[in-house]
């Protein structure tokens, strides 16, 4: 604990990262309390105040139907974090199982499992997601499904590589000589040694999932109106550039804040979780 605090404080960037991520979480959790116009999260028309630049009343301006941009960003964080959470609850366990089994058992099992994962990896992520979304209805749930499908093979690769390295360590040999089961060796001996890398990657991925989700909705395939979503906001705003710049710039910055914050925190976590 003391060590974690030391690493954290000795690196100013990590403090910035924590502040950014903290802000994002705070917005998402307390959206109803801090958003200036909570009803603007949904389908509200407010044409009298449409296209207003940033002002004391609307800190980040309003959109084409007169909704407060700040409010919509705060609610969009809620959606984004929810998606990230769901994707990162499903994708890593699948990838971990693939990677551990392929890496430890080896042979044909390794060949088959890793080729399956390679097939997913060989398709550009956005193309894969687009293909899945093309087959399914463009809904929030399906967007999460598509992102999960493109995400798990990265965990399979990560865990596979670590497992291949750990497999030759003495403690694995010792467990084999004792007669421990393969399941024990994979999940109780090797997996704990993968956890720091997995947790670090999950933190980094939180940002990237938000980015991909935004890309999907930017292309009109993710979250549908009137739900507030950063990608859709950027996408809609581009039609009014450069005059109504705030409609694009602020949601864009909001994406940057989240992605950058999670990246910084991921880097710190890597340092903290590395054993001495």
């Amino acid at each position: 604990m003391k060590r974690a605090a030391y690493i954290l404080l000795s690196n100013p960037l990590s403090v910035i990262g924590l502040l950014l991520v903290g802000t994002v979480f705070f917005c998402a959790l307390f959206a109803d309390f801090i958003a200036p116009y909570p009803d603007h999260a949904g389908a509200v028309m407010n044409f009298a105040f449409a296209n207003k630049p940033p002002s004391a009343e609307y800190l980040l301006g309003t959109d084409v139907v007169g909704r407060d941009i700040l409010t919509r960003i705060i609610y969009a964080y809620q959606v984004a974090l929810g998606m990230g959470l769901v994707v990162l609850l499903i994708a890593p366990p699948i990838g971990v199982a693939f990677g551990l089994i392929a890496g430890y058992i080896g042979g044909w099992t390794d060949f088959i499992l890793m080729r399956i994962s390679d097939i997913f990896l060989s398709i550009p992520p956005l193309v894969l997601a687009l293909a899945i979304m093309g087959l399914l209805e463009p809904t929030l749930l399906n967007a999460m499904l598509a992102i999960t499908a493109m995400w798990w093979p990265w965990y399979a690769r990560l865990v596979y590589n670590i497992t291949r390295g750990e497999k030759v360590e003495g403690y694995v040999l010792a467990a084999e000589v004792i007669g421990a089961s393969k399941a024990h060796i994979m999940f109780r001996e090797i997996l704990p040694n993968c956890v720091p890398a997995i947790v670090t990657k999950m933190t980094l991925d939180f940002g990237f999932v938000i980015l991909i989700a935004s890309s999907l909705s930017f292309l009109g395939l993710g979250v549908q109106a009137p739900t507030a979503d950063l990608g859709s906001m950027v996408s809609e705003g581009t039609r009014y550039l450069p005059d109504s710049w705030w409609m694009t710039i602020f949601p864009g910055l909001a994406i940057v804040v989240a992605v950058f914050g999670f990246n910084l925190v991921g880097d710190v976590l890597r340092d903290v979780l590395e054993p001495d």
């Binding site: 003391k2 060590r3 605090a5 030391y6 690493i7």
Partner: protein, 291 residues
């Protein structure tokens, strides 16, 4: 004026800053090597012997969390007065190093001949491929490598550990450095090969008049190589003397324990020696002053 000492270390201290504060690992080391002398620094793991060699090599000073104080003078020139790039210029030209595992110390991407040329460039940047090859072949003969063409055209992973060790010795000595740092040389090799390559290294440094700082945990190996020995225990030098004096009449309790803990080839059972003892912290014993 007498020759300055090749290496003159005075009150060398090293500490690391980490999350729990500052830890001092060297508590004031004094060590001198005259030109042409072979001096050993002997200690167990964690005693501070390897960090000492890294300070002399000038790489420890670049570690962000490390704080080095005291004097390390090479031929009268204080290393701390030099910039990081000047220290780098010294390495490989005037000070060179031999490592524990020769195979991992040689870059596997280049042929041995190319590695030699790189090393020679540190002394003469204009050295041609032909000259480099001729010089390399000459010194490889000195370490009893006859088929020099094959070796120079090979990559390190194509050669045996013993062969790589000889290549490494030749490479470390080709620029006729004034100081050679040997950190546990050949520990990764088989005993018979280790004995052979150490004898070659000794012959070559004697012939070139190179000073050597020999870092080792193995008293048997040190006995066959060094003129003088410093024994280091937990960051302090505890005993210093000529090799024969130190082996015939060790005076510090730690040195005595170390010597008697080694199982003898002549038998007698496993010695019953305590792993730690308060008298290991007894003051420094210098045979040179006792005489």
């Amino acid at each position: 004026m007498p020759d300055p000492l090749t290496l003159d270390i005075k009150d060398l201290r090293l500490s690391f800053k980490n999350w729990s504060g500052t830890t001092e690992v060297l508590h004031g080391i004094d060590l001198r090597i005259a030109p042409g002398e072979r001096v050993a620094l002997v200690g167990e793991s964690g005693s501070g012997k390897s960090v000492t060699s890294r300070i002399v090599l000038g790489t420890m000073q670049d570690v962000r969390t490390a704080r080095v104080t005291g004097q390390v003078a090479f031929e009268g020139q204080d290393l701390s007065a030099l910039t990081s790039s000047d220290r780098r210029a010294l390495r490989g030209r005037d000070i060179s190093m031999i490592f524990q595992d020769p195979t991992s110390a040689l870059n596997p991407v280049f042929r041995i001949g190319e590695l030699f040329q790189e090393v020679l460039k540190r002394r003469d940047p204009k050295v041609t491929k032909g000259e480099a090859r001729a010089q390399a072949a000459k010194i490889l003969h000195e370490v009893s490598i006859e088929d020099t063409d094959r070796v120079l055209d090979s990559y390190s992973f194509q050669l045996s550990g013993g062969m790589n060790q000889r290549v490494m010795i030749a490479m470390a000595l080709i620029n006729e450095p004034r100081l050679l740092l040997a950190d546990e040389p050949g520990t990764a090799l088989d005993v018979t090969v280790q004995a052979q390559t150490l004898a070659m290294m000794r012959d070559l440094v004697v012939q070139q008049g190179t000073s050597v700082l020999f870092i080792s945990h193995n008293l048997g190996v040190v006995r066959e190589f060094a003129d003088r020995i410093y024994v280091i225990y937990q960051g302090r030098i505890v005993e210093h003397g000529a090799t024969k004096e130190l082996f015939d009449a060790p005076r510090h309790p730690y040195t005595r324990a170390l010597l008697s803990a080694i199982p003898r080839l002549t038998g007698g059972g496993v010695p019953d020696i305590a792993e730690r003892s308060p008298d290991f912290d007894d003051p420094f014993v210098d045979h040179a002053e006792v005489r």
